[in-house]
């Protein structure tokens, strides 16, 4: 079985400050890891993914994420947050050996960036 935990329901940050959204995962084998963002009344949009290789993954809109196998974490980061980054963020995992390319999503973390 595979699972994802996002321990924070909401993260508040001032514009220009660093932003971190936490994610931990559990899979029986090696993971594929993803981050998605959802703006109000919209579908989810892909931000970045970790498949293999470099533990630091760079994605869209200046976001990056660090894969840490020993801590089973995949935290999303942005060095300088913008008000427009305010949205709902989802971490997702897929066990490499799982059939159907099925992703399991975390509960989501709402990010509020204040001017």
């Amino acid at each position: 079985a595979q699972s994802v935990a996002q321990p924070e329901d909401q993260v508040n940050v001032a514009e220009g400050n660093p932003l971190t959204v936490k994610c931990t995962y559990s899979v029986s084998g090696n993971p594929y890891l993803f981050w998605y963002v959802q703006y109000p009344n919209r579908g989810l949009q892909f931000l970045l993914k970790y498949i293999t290789g470099d533990n630091l993954v760079k994605g869209s809109y200046g976001f990056e994420a660090e894969f840490n196998k020993s801590q089973t974490s995949f935290h999303l980061k942005k060095p300088s947050a913008l008000v427009s980054d305010s949205a709902l963020y989802f971490c997702a995992v897929r066990d490499i050996q799982a059939a159907g390319n099925k992703l399991t999503f975390g509960g989501g973390t709402r990010v509020l960036v204040k001017p």
Binding site: N41, G43, G100, N101, K102, G107
Partner: protein, 114 residues
């Protein structure tokens, strides 16, 4: 290029009524999925399809049926709607790329069951 299109976007049903949500993708994707989104619970997989004519159960399949008669369409049906099925439903698709393809999502269908 429309991507993933869901219809209808909004619907209100009475308990016991039936309806079908349609998902259409124009990216020639093999895999299609139906998720439901509920506050604090993230997205939960209802059913999915790995190709035309095939479907499989996800995490929360009870009360739903699906069909994939054409590669580009994936239908989600509710035969007898219940208030517990009030949710936002998302369709997604992906191209098989050795298992690492990201999902492309539709805009969502908000369903209210009274």
């Amino acid at each position: 290029n429309a991507g993933v299109t869901q219809t209808p976007k909004f619907r209100v049903l009475k308990t016991g009524q039936s309806m079908t949500l349609l998902c259409a993708q124009d990216m020639n994707h093999e895999y299609m999925y139906w998720y439901r989104q509920d506050p604090g619970m993230g997205l939960r997989l209802i059913h999915y399809s790995v190709g035309e004519g095939t479907t499989a159960k996800g995490e929360v399949p009870d009360g739903y049926n699906v069909s994939r008669l054409k590669k580009q369409n994936f239908l989600l049906g509710l035969e007898s709607a219940a208030p517990s099925q009030t949710s936002v439903y998302f369709c997604a698709s992906t191209l098989w790329t050795g298992g690492v393809g990201e999902l492309f999502f539709g805009e969502g269908s908000r369903l209210t069951v009274l």
